[in-house]
């Protein structure tokens, strides 16, 4: 049975140094309150897989020294420009980068949820993405004739961690249309979700809601974290906090400014 954690820190406790952690893209429920809690705890050597891209979350974790390996298709602050700590870390070779392309990550998670060791994907041939991924292979399509195609190994993360609108007390988590969260939960060994609020009743009792729900069967722990995606958006709930993201982009441009950001917004727990 999933647990409803008494605190964010309690929910995140199993996420240990060095584990493989999967998180979603900016518009699908990025667990920012949880990310700040992990940084406060001083988590180290994460292998972070952002499905399929990241923004503030990866940049913060990199800047705070929590990441050893990053596997994703892009890190950017979008309208607020390049992700400064990501860029600095790559230029200094201080993290290992596994560059991918978005559908390769989606497909590799789908392989894990099917329990198969690999999955084929079109595209990629002739790219330097493929050239720098010794873990990806090209075979001749066994059902075709002289038709090269890429094979990707399944991605089975230790943890999937995401933020959503609501969960019930049985640990069923409503994700609506953001169904890559369901794929993440299927693929990962363990799933931890933060939510805006608890839902009174059982999400599985309502056919409309249950169709957009990660069943508690796949969920280890739920924690309530109001505005838990802030300053990123939670679609259907609140938009991105543009003024804050602009301030982040300005501060994170230098190591000193980034340290000030951490002091101001991460190490001191923000009053709601």
């Amino acid at each position: 049975m999933p647990t409803i954690a008494r605190s964010l820190d309690e929910a995140l406790a199993p996420i240990a140094d060095g584990c493989v952690l999967a998180v979603p893209r900016e518009s699908a429920g990025v667990p920012m309150a949880a990310t700040r809690a992990l940084i406060r705890r001083g988590i180290k050597r994460l292998h972070l897989i952002a499905l399929p891209t990241s923004s503030l979350q990866a940049d913060l974790l990199i800047g705070a020294g929590c990441i050893e390996t990053l596997e994703t298709s892009a890190v950017s602050l979008g309208e607020f420009g390049l992700a400064p700590r990501f860029t600095a870390a790559i230029l200094a070779s201080s993290i290992t980068m596994k560059d991918a392309t978005c559908p390769a990550l989606h497909a590799a998670f789908q392989a894990a949820e099917k329990g198969v060791p690999f999955i084929p994907l079109r595209g990629l041939i002739g790219s330097d993405i493929l050239a720098h991924r010794p873990d990806w292979r090209v075979i001749d399509n066994p059902f075709g004739n002289n038709d090269p195609i890429v094979l990707l190994p399944a991605i089975k993360p230790d943890f999937a961690l995401f933020h959503a609108g609501m969960a019930d007390r049985a640990g069923n988590v409503f994700i609506g249309r953001d169904r890559e969260l369901l794929t993440m939960a299927h693929a990962a060994a363990h799933t931890i979700a933060t939510v805006e609020a608890l839902y009174d009743g059982n999400l599985m009792d309502d056919p409309a809601l249950s169709a957009g729900t990660v069943p508690g069967f796949y969920v280890d722990t739920v924690a309530v974290a109001p505005r838990g995606a802030w300053p990123l958006p939670l679609l259907d709930h609140y938009p991105a906090d543009g003024a804050h993201l602009a301030e982040y982009a300005r501060l994170a441009a230098t190591p000193e400014g980034f340290a000030r950001y951490l002091d101001q917004y991460v190490h001191v727990q923000r009053a709601a």
């Binding site: 298709s73 559908p103 989606h106 789908q110």
Partner: protein, 255 residues
């Protein structure tokens, strides 16, 4: 070339979006990816003009996105040939249509790092009309050979490839791309710019006709649609762009 001294009554973003509208043509489904406000402006304007056609899928939007199967649906849809038009950019783009969204210099010790390849390593292969856009037209962005190929402009005959680049839009001009020859051809130069300037600022060779036309200005009807109807729609996904270009602020109702 236009030598008129009167300032044009449209913005550069509006001219580029209008040019993109013509490149899209008659299609069923246009998808717009990350960091693509000008293509989004074009696609939504075309849909307004067409009374709801074509379908537009705007990544990051709730209102302008019909997908219900998560982030993968865009790619699955494209893999089946159900997306006709997509837009890609590049930190570098070369004369063979290769695009670089990753880095400059040695991959393991780069001099410059860009965000990453996004979906380009797949969508460039399977979307029939990929329109490249790179607003900054300079020898820094349009290079003889990219440092890193996020996606190649073409492939060997036996590689499954149902899509690729058809054009490149910049702040100075419009190029068409010949997929068989893997070469760009100058189609038109924007008002206030010249062929000489395009040659001077392009790092690769390209073909051009003897007389290069000027990119037509957007019509008053198109400009009205963009400013009055589409700009508020754009604010949902591109609030900074909508405010900077059109002075439109994101309101709670746009969520």
């Amino acid at each position: 070339m236009s030598t008129s001294s009167a300032p044009p009554d449209f913005l550069p973003e509006e001219l580029l979006a209008d040019a993109i509208i013509r490149l899209i043509g008659e299609v069923r489904h246009v998808a717009v990816g990350n960091a693509s406000p000008i293509p989004a402006l074009a696609a939504l304007t075309l849909r307004e003009r067409g009374g709801g056609k074509p379908y537009v899928s705007l990544l990051g939007s709730r209102r302008h996105m019909f997908f219900t199967d998560g982030g993968r649906e865009l790619f699955d849809c494209a893999g089946q040939g159900r997306i006709d038009v997509f837009f890609l950019s590049g930190g570098e783009i070369d004369g063979e249509g290769n695009i670089n969204l990753v880095s400059i210099g040695d991959y393991d010790q780069p001099k410059v790092r860009f965000p990453g390849s996004f979906g380009s390593g797949y969508l460039y292969y399977v979307v029939p009309k990929v329109i490249l856009f790179r607003v900054e037209h300079s020898r820094r962005t349009l290079v003889p050979k990219v440092s890193f190929i996020s996606a190649p402009g073409g492939n060997a005959e036996n590689v499954h490839r149902t899509g690729g680049p058809i054009a490149l839009v910049t702040n100075r001009c419009l190029f068409a791309f010949d997929q068989a020859r893997r070469r760009f051809r100058l189609m038109s130069v924007h008002p206030g710019h010249s062929v000489e300037e395009v040659i001077e600022n392009t790092g690769f060779d390209f073909d051009r006709p003897d007389a290069v036309p000027v990119t037509p200005a957007p019509s008053p009807d198109t400009l009205r649609l963009m400013r009055e109807t589409v700009a508020p729609q754009l604010a949902e996904v591109y609030p900074q762009f909508a405010e900077r270009v059109f002075g439109v602020k994101l309101t709670a109702g746009a969520l």
